[in-house]
Symmetry: C2
Subunit: 317 residues, 2 copies
């Protein structure tokens, strides 16, 4: 069994190749070529939990089981709140071929890439002002991924509930992107063309009235029942809703409320893979409000694991 | 992260300690102290599949995720059909503490122990003649586990669909148990006081009319929807039914048919942990036919993983 640690994995990741692989994974899901059983989930005290995502792309020689833990209380002890690993198993013999002990890094990167892929596919093509909401690892990864996919001419603002943390993230990212602190979330929302929410919020952060026509919102924070970043009125007002996987989004994503309340928009949600296959299924006009809710798919975990393994293989030969 | 291979794990297992740990795990389940989310399952061509069992015993410092693959076609290439590993994670920080790459051995052993614990708890206390049905790894483990728990005065017969394979298993086990070949399954069933079925059968192997009053049957083969070892008439005739976990047994165990057909016995199934806590909930008279269906619990995987880690720890200190 090949075992790679986080430090060994990090230099193996090419963001461009990884973005292509994640994009192809969404399309494979849309084409019905991915076996994606329901996500495993177990909870612990103090809001901690563990997700198990696993799946198999038809005819692939391997399948992947990804374990990701989230223990918010770790922050108090200066420990990372996310952890985990991916197992790569042979789909021909069931043997475990590799363990990528990435400690959540691959999940963070593929989630970042998923967000940027959604923003790129659905936002107005002339969008340049991106607001990032959140100060955690995922907020940083969203800046990295949007930078990588949009190129150098985008401008970021970043807002966090704790200003000093937001400022620290802005300082840290100033080397890789044009980024500044957003003092006020309402104003920042009104000025943004793309809003990316990457928080662990359980109550809506973004009010509908703050958002201008034409804005695209990518929401990546809500990944478990009860987590919410957007006001229900905003979801209901949006012209088009998108998600990575309908079943997950309605069960434990941002659109959970839409499902529960059976709002009119509940029947109007397009999967990202369908938009990537057929752009006509995305945004129709410049003044539409669009929302993409991403809960994370095993298909992305398979994609990023393959990028790592292929890079490792090519180094060896 | 501690990583142990199969060869490193094998000498760490004390069957007596492991049996105690597995027994305690059933009781913990019965007491409602174990978080046991639904088993993850993904299928592959040619009847291959992967199960993911995971759970947490309340207040335990760790939790366990067990991955087990079954690829029947491996046998054609001389490869083991079962494979897998257990991950041990901190329930306090979510960090991965250990990987037990046991290649299915721990699952096989804890399943053997579960079968013997059920037989011991539910069969007539004077039972001495044990019929093992099956020639695979699990048939061997059932002989080992029943020998360990019943002591030296039990006598085994073993039946397999392929006589030459059955003979090979009997020869192999002759060193560890008093065991002989059963030529005819009907006769062997009639003579047995305990019948242990450990096959991958998808059609009933054991007919109701072959089984004498007072017989106990432990069925460990059926572990996925569609697998069956016992005739529905036999399940319906049994005086008492037992299982490890009701939800699993009705979903993908031997009692699936009871559930589907809503036979009278469907409402009369006791969990093993309840019998271990209170023997009055087990067999009532010597002439009852009893059936225990075991589908396998993450609680057993937690128990056996702890036995391995504790043995490893005590060797180091």
């Amino acid at each position: 069994m090949l075992i790679l640690t986080r430090d060994e994995i990090e230099p193996l990741i090419d963001w461009t190749l990884a973005a292509e692989a994640v994009r192809a994974a969404y399309i494979a899901v849309s084409e019905g070529r991915v076996s994606l059983p329901p996500v495993g989930h177990i909870t612990f005290p103090a809001g901690a939990d563990c997700h198990i995502k696993y799946g198999h792309i038809a005819d692939d020689p391997v399948f992947v089981i990804k374990v990701a833990t989230g223990f918010p209380a770790n922050a108090r002890f200066g420990l990372p709140t996310g952890n985990g690993l991916s197992l790569v198993l042979s789909a021909q013999t069931g043997a475990v071929e590799a363990m990528l002990h990435d400690e959540m890094m691959l999940t963070d990167i593929r989630t970042g890439l998923g967000g940027a892929i959604a923003s790129r596919a659905i936002a107005r093509s002339d969008s340049r002002r991106i607001l990032i909401v959140g100060t955690g690892v995922q907020a940083r990864r969203q800046v990295q991924a949007h930078s990588a996919l949009f190129g150098g001419d985008v401008v970021f603002t970043l807002w966090g509930r704790k200003t000093e943390m937001a400022l620290a993230v802005v300082d840290e990212l100033a080397q890789v992107a044009e980024i500044s602190l957003a003092d006020d979330l309402e104003t920042a929302c009104a000025q943004a063309e793309i809003i990316v929410t990457a928080t662990g919020a359980t109550k809506a952060l973004i009010a509908s009235r703050w958002v201008q026509p034409g804005t695209h919102i990518t929401a990546v924070g809500a990944d478990a029942p009860g987590k919410r970043e957007l006001e229900t009125a905003l979801i209901n007002r949006a012209d088009r809703l998108f998600c990575d996987l309908l079943a997950q989004s309605l069960d434990h994503g941002e659109f959970e409320g839409v499902h529960r309340a059976r709002l009119p928009n509940g029947g109007n949600i397009t999967e990202l893979g369908d938009v990537l296959r057929d752009p006509a299924r995305g945004r129709k006009t410049d003044d539409e409000i669009t929302i993409a809710d991403l809960t994370g798919l095993a298909a992305q975990d398979i994609a990023i694991a393959r990028v790592v393994l292929q890079a490792h293989e090519s180094l060896r030969t």
